[in-house]
Amino acid sequence: MLILNHLWIIPLLPLLGAAINGLSGLFGAKWPNKAVTAVAIGSTGLSFLAALECVREFLNLPAAQQALPWVKQYFTWIAAGTFRAGFDLQIDHLTIVMLLVVTGVGWLIHIYATGYMSHEGGYYRFFSYLNLFMFFMLILVMAANYVLLFVGWEGVGLASYLLIGFYFLKKSASDAGKKAFIVNRIGDFGFMLGMFLLFRTFGSLDFVTVFDKTRELPADALGQFGILTISCLLLFMGATGKSAQLPLYVWLPDAMEGPTPVSALIHAATMVTAGVYVVARSHILFTHAPTAMLVVASVGAATAFFAATIGLVQTDIKKILAYSTVSQLGYMFLACGVGAFSAGIFHLMTHAFFKALLFLAAGSVIHAMGGEQEVTRMGGLSGKIRWTYFTMLMGTLAIAGAPGFAGFFSKDAILFSAFQHAPGGRILYAVGLASALMTAFYMFRLIFLTFHGKPRFDEHHVHVHESPKSMLGPLVVLALLSIIGGWMAAPSFWGGTDHFTAFLAPVFGAEAAPEAATAAVSEAAEHSLELTLAGVAVATAFLGFFLAFWLYLRRPGVADQIAKSAKGAYTTLLNKYYVDELYAAVIIRPLVWISDNVLWRAVDASGIDGAVNGAAAGTTALGDRLRRAHSGNTRSYAVWVVIGALLILAVIFWPMLKPAAGMVP
């Protein structure tokens, strides 16, 4: 029970790493990069080991104890009046999944980064930030109340801000960091209000209390905006910011300005899934608010589709993956919205494997190409960087949903749940399927453009070289996980148990049960339906692959012709539906204009200050007249002094004299 009784060890290790590496720079003592590496890898590695030990200890607990979250209260953080928020950490099955993903994938990416960043300036700063991120992310997934979760929530946002703007000499990088932070703050606005509403309703923000009390409440009806529904919608507003959903997704593609390991860790595998985690964590609230569920599912499906369409035409390798991430996050929300929380978390996990892999492999490609990111200027790399090619192909097969790969099982679980959902399940399913088609298409387009065909770059100038072992090692491990990561759920295809869902059952089980009951189909029929839908999904993925193959390998000219003939649609997609431009025109520019011209210049400078200065000028004029009274004659001053003194005395003592005055008729 070493770790289970001292949960704080897990997040504290990366914090120590961040502090040591951060201070090494602050005091100017030039640490060798090796020391930085040792601290960074060591702290996250130990944290990973501690997490493993923690999981082992938790799973050794008696079943009855495992059915409840294991909560440790450390100290009271904020206590004002009735309000109490503590540094309380908890472990349950949902946290375990997140914990292993965060520390495991996080550690791999740390190792990768030691290779990727080895020639960059500010090495210590990079790892200090990256460890800081790990600390906050662990706080986020281990928190036992909403306020501490919010600490992690804001903290990962900060780490993300610092890391996106890591190349702070580039204006686009610091712009992107700032944009990420502010857009996230817009979401946090909702999150905070949601928390206040929950506190007002339940008198506490501890998960255990809030969820226990919610269980006793009647659920809102569909279309009813009760307190639970509004709380859920407000929390979800926060989630749309952090997890880059419509309409707040705009920061994530820009966030690709950060170093590639950051994109892999923060903007693919972990931080951006925090919104999904919050919705899943609050699943009891959400299942009591069907309207909110419908909103979650719709926003998820819409985002999945919308982002995938943009992904079709992007040419920057990281941007393609970024839009793909937005789209896949939409999938996870779609799952949560139809009540399939464990499917959502399942996809969160497999996505962490294959998307981290894809980003890291993309980083390896960029590394090999000497910084080139445009897939239009690549091609034919498959023979030159075999390991990168092979691992990236595994990731692509996984995300496209090739049978047997991790993404196949999780995506299938989501589409299956959506299909069965009432009301509107079929529509959600159709949108999801269309997105899956596009996913397969744009991912294979990426693979073909990058690795196949003829090289479209100057081979004399670009010396394509395979990455060092420190980078390839994590790629291989993640490729392996992208293949086997979904096998836990495999037995369900031959009528066995879905081990992943069973594992999360202590958390989601009770809530997921009524969902299955409403489907009202016999088990056998359900099983055959699942197989049919899986078949459809595989066919769709293959179609996507084939289209990409045909357009980019067989008939390379056709894609351009299509782009030309549908110029309007193509440029709209290429410019991401002009959403950034729209926000700038509708929100940012008017706000700046009003602040500058109306609030500051008109109201402040001319209005208020004008009035004040006007009054002052008036007084000066008056004073000028009164000045004439100041004749310089001492006796006249004396007269004024006496008159003044009398006046003041009269004012002060008038009320006291009143009774006396009253006696005089």
Binding site: I182, I186, L193, F196, V612
Partner: protein, 536 residues
Amino acid sequence: MALLDHHLLSVILFTPLAGALLLLLVPRAMENAHRVLGNVFGVLGFVVSLPLLARFRPDVAGYQFRENADWIPSIGAHYSLGMDGISFLLVLLTTLLGMISILSSWKAIQLRKKEYYILFLLLQTGMLGVFLSLDFFLFYVFWEVMLVPMYFLIGVWGSERRLYAAIKFFLYTLAGSVVMLLGILAVYFNAAKSGAPPTFDVPTLLAAAQQFPDGLKVWLFWGFFFAFAIKVPMFPFHTWLPDAHTEAPTAGSVILAGVLLKMGTYGFVRFSLPLLPADAALRGKIIHIVVLLSLVGIVYGALVCMMQKDMKRLIAYSSVSHLGFCTLGIFALTPHGLAGSILQQINHGISTGALFLIVGVLYERRHTRLISEFGGLSTPMPNFAAIYMIVSLSSLGMPLLNGFIGEFTILRGVFEVNKTWAAWAALGVILGAAYLLWLYQRVMFGAVTKPENEKLPDLNLREYATLLPLVVLAFWIGIYPKPFFRYLEKPVQLIVEMVNPGYYKSAEVKSPIDGPLPVAGSIPRSEKVNVEEPAK
């Protein structure tokens, strides 16, 4: 030690004044002696306030360390001092920031050092007097006394438009004080009507004011409100602030933002709240107006902030926004709102004080405050960049730093009363991130564009000494604010019981601090979760 036992507050109050008097005796020619002595008394002023930490009892309601002596017996004015949890925090903030600002003037002030340090110490005594006085007459004296040194600090040691700013500051504040004087006299005479001997004793007068007819109370409220709103400053009485802040020397800005503005909010808490009329409808109207002004201040201040080209002006407008949170919290009339507001006043002193010090660091190096003159400073000044980042984050309300605790508690208290108010105020949190990060980006990020910025030296030891205490405090309040809330528990309870009598009964509040802390360990939960079967 008897002096410390019975006259601790007087010692704290008059140590700076003693320093000022001593400095008067030092010949003008001994240039260095002035700033050494000034610093000695800056430190001493802080040191003598430290015994408070051990002696002040947060669990005792009411005023402590009372001192009372007849001063002008004929009108009932006393030399009366006392301290409760609210003034405790503000006094410590004042002595700490006083020490830091005096230290920060070491190199910045080259002209007329003797007068500068004398005036600064005088200012310290004036501000401390405001927080410690329990006699309206004495309070008013200190309130006015403090104006004069500040006027000269801006007017003599300020930058280009210093005279305009100094006079504007003086006239604005004076206008407010005159109205307040009338208010004080009105309270004084009306209380005397009942036949009790005339007195300026604050607790007595405020207790008597509870019996005043509502019509009178409304007038009194607005009279005091006018004075305090100018001081805070609340929209639309804020336009003196940007000018005063911008023109004042660094130390003046630090004190102005850190302490002087708090005199306004302190006045609201101490004097305005008890003067609220008893009639619910009437009171509701007043509260609505004040809250509206606070909300406008929060959003308006933040928006205007973004348009500023001068760093100090930007931070000045951010004060308007931040102080809007403080006044909002006060007039929510809930324990969370009030406690959060007072803590936020301390937080604002720490964060904004540090921000002005940061501008001072840059001003000493470049003699300009224009944002466009900087850019890319992270490269030559990496340690400065780190501290500036922490301070920015503390100001914009990042959890685990102080600003978050204050804002969160205020919003939580306001939400209880009115959700729309909380929503508008929370908008300020978004904008806060926008203007602070944008400022940071323009000053620190990017490549160095101006050749004169290329070789700027990083922080020196003295600058660390001014900034690090504030950074440590920011983390302390952010991570473990409980001790601070403990000092506020009792006074806030007294105030809420007076102005919002039904509150504690209806909310069935039991202070969480009174109860024992739950023991760390796996806590038991309700049984029913246990029995649920995992679904297939």
